[in-house]
C-alpha cells in the first residue's frame, strides 16, 4: 500500500519529505492521479498539498501579484485581483476543463505539469511571470521560461516545491486577450492557444505587444519578430497578416490525434488576425 500524507503546514511538509524523500507531491490530482490510476505512474508515496492554507493565498506586493501555487482555478476566477489586474490569465483559467476540474486543479499543478497545452502558461509567459520555489533551505525565484525546460519537464529539485507564481501587473496594456481553440468548448485540451497583451494608442497604433502561444511548440512559443513587426504599426489586417506570417514561420507544432501540424501552424497565425475584431468590440479591455 502506498501512503498518502496530508500535511497541514509547510513546516509539517518538510518533516514528511524528510521521512519520505521519494514521495511525489500533488495538489488537485487532476493530472497526477489520472496518470497514477491509469497505471502510467507509480509513486512510492504521495504527499497532498491540499491542506496547506499558506500555499493558497493571493496578494499584492509592490507592483506584483503573488499567487499561491495551491490556489484552485475556481478560487482564482473569483479573486478580484486576478480578474481586474490579470484579465488574460483570468480568461485562460475560465476555459480550463470543467467546473469540477477547476474546483480541484491548481495553478501550481498547471505550471508543474508543463504541458505544451497548459492554459495558464501563455498568459504567464506574456506577462514575464516568475515562479517561487521553496525548500527547507530557502526560496529562489526563476523566470517561467527557465523553470519549464521542455514538455513535461521543469528544473524543480528534489524536496523542493513550487510555492507561488509572481506576476507583475501589466501596466500600460489596454488590450488583454486570451483565446483557445479546442475541439469543443468544455473539457477540451487546447489545439492552439494565444495570449496577447497590447498597448494601443487612442488612434489605433500598436505601441507595444506581448504575445505567446500554447500547443504549437514543445513549450510556450514567443515571437519577438512578430512583436517588433507590430510595434508602431496600426492594428489592421495588413500589419497583423505580416506578423502572422512570422508566427507561422517560427512555430514547430506536432501532429497528434487532435490536429495536424499544418492546421496548428495556420491557426497560430489566424488567432493574431482576430485582434482587430477584439479591439473593435472593446472586448478584452
Amino acid at each position: 500500500m502506498r501512503e498518502v500524507i496530508l500535511p497541514g503546514s509547510i513546516e509539517e511538509l518538510w518533516r514528511c519529505l524528510d521521512d519520505k524523500p521519494q514521495a511525489s507531491v500533488y495538489a488537485g490530482g487532476t493530472d497526477l492521479l489520472v496518470k497514477m490510476y491509469n497505471g502510467l505512474f507509480d509513486p512510492e508515496a504521495l504527499i497532498c498539498l491540499d491542506r496547506i492554507e499558506e500555499l493558497k493565498e493571493v496578494g499584492e506586493q509592490g507592483g506584483s501579484i503573488r499567487i499561491g501555487a495551491c490556489a484552485t482555478h475556481s478560487g482564482l476566477l473569483e479573486d478580484p485581483l486576478v480578474r481586474k489586474r490579470l484579465p488574460a490569465l483570468w480568461k485562460a483559467i475560465g476555459g480550463i476543463g470543467s467546473p469540477p476540474v477547476r474546483n480541484m486543479g491548481t495553478i501550481g499543478g498547471n505550471i508543474c505539469t508543463a504541458s505544451p497545452a497548459g492554459d495558464t502558461l501563455p498568459p504567464l509567459y506574456a506577462m514575464k511571470a516568475e515562479v517561487e520555489l521553496l525548500s527547507r533551505e530557502g526560496s529562489r525565484r526563476v523566470p517561467i521560461p527557465e523553470f519549464i525546460t521542455g514538455p513535461g519537464a521543469t528544473c524543480l529539485k528534489r524536496a523542493e516545491i513550487l510555492s507561488a507564481v509572481w506576476v507583475k501587473k501589466p501596466e500600460g496594456y489596454n488590450l488583454h486577450h486570451f483565446e483557445k481553440v479546442g475541439l469543443r468548448s468544455a473539457l477540451a485540451c487546447s489545439v492552439v492557444s494565444m495570449a496577447a497583451l497590447l498597448r494601443l494608442r487612442p488612434e489605433g497604433i500598436v505601441e507595444k505587444a506581448a504575445l505567446a502561444w500554447g500547443s504549437v511548440a514543445p513549450t510556450v512559443f514567443r515571437c519577438p519578430e512578430a512583436e517588433e513587426a507590430l510595434a508602431g504599426k496600426p492594428l489592421c489586417a495588413e500589419s497583423l497578416s505580416k506578423a502572422a506570417e512570422l508566427v507561422r514561420d517560427g512555430v514547430s507544432p506536432i501532429s497528434d490525434l487532435r490536429a495536424d501540424a499544418d492546421y496548428r501552424r495556420a491557426v497560430a497565425g489566424n488567432l493574431l488576425l482576430r485582434l482587430v475584431d477584439i479591439a473593435d468590440e472593446g472586448k478584452g479591455r
Partner: protein
C-alpha cells in the same frame, strides 16, 4: 489506513488503503452505488460528489483526502424521506433516461443553484459542462434545472 469523515449526515469510518480511489471506497466498501464511475479520468462527471458542498470528482481523489471532510453523495440528498427539489424536477421533466449520468448531474445542479439560485439556460449549460450525458441531448436536463431553481426560489420566499 483508518479514515473518518462525515458522509451524508453521518460520521463514517473506513479502514482502506490510503491511495484507494475514493469512488471505489464509496461504491465497493460503503456500497453506495449511486455514484458511478464512467471514464475514471475526470472527463465525464459520473463520479461527481459534493465535498464541503462543492463538486469534486471522486475518481480523482485518494481515500485519504476524504479525512475530516463533509461528503454528500446522491444517496444523501433526500431529507426525511423526501427527495431534493432538484431530484423532483429531474423526475417531473423526464430528464432521466438510462440514469448513468443522473447522480452526477443532480449534484452538479445542486452546487450550481447554491452558488447561483437563478441561472440563465446558458449558465446552467456551463455549470453542468463537466457532466456528460449520452442519452438525453441535455434539453430536458436544462429544463429540469430551470424548474428546480423555481421550486427552490418559491420554497425560500414562502
Amino acid at each position: 489506513m483508518k479514515i473518518s469523515f462525515y458522509l451524508n449526515g453521518k460520521d463514517t469510518c473506513v479502514d482502506v488503503p490510503a491511495d484507494r480511489k475514493l469512488v471505489s471506497v464509496l461504491r465497493e466498501d460503503l456500497e453506495l452505488t449511486g455514484t458511478k464511475e464512467g471514464c475514471g479520468a475526470g472527463e465525464c462527471g459520473a463520479c461527481t460528489i459534493l465535498v464541503d458542498g462543492h463538486v469534486r470528482l471522486s475518481c480523482l481523489m485518494t481515500a485519504a483526502q476524504a479525512q475530516g471532510r463533509r461528503i454528500t453523495t446522491i444517496e444523501g440528498l433526500a431529507e426525511n424521506g423526501k427527495v431534493h427539489p432538484v431530484q423532483e424536477a429531474f423526475i417531473e421533466n423526464g430528464a432521466v433516461q438510462c440514469g448513468f449520468c443522473t447522480p452526477g448531474m443532480v449534484l452538479a445542479a445542486v452546487d450550481l443553484l447554491d452558488r447561483n439560485p437563478d441561472p440563465t439556460r446558458e449558465q446552467i449549460r456551463e455549470g453542468l459542462s463537466g457532466n456528460l450525458c449520452r442519452c438525453s441531448g441535455y434539453v430536458k436536463i436544462v429544463d429540469a434545472v430551470e424548474a428546480a431553481a423555481g421550486k427552490i426560489g418559491r420554497g425560500k420566499s414562502r
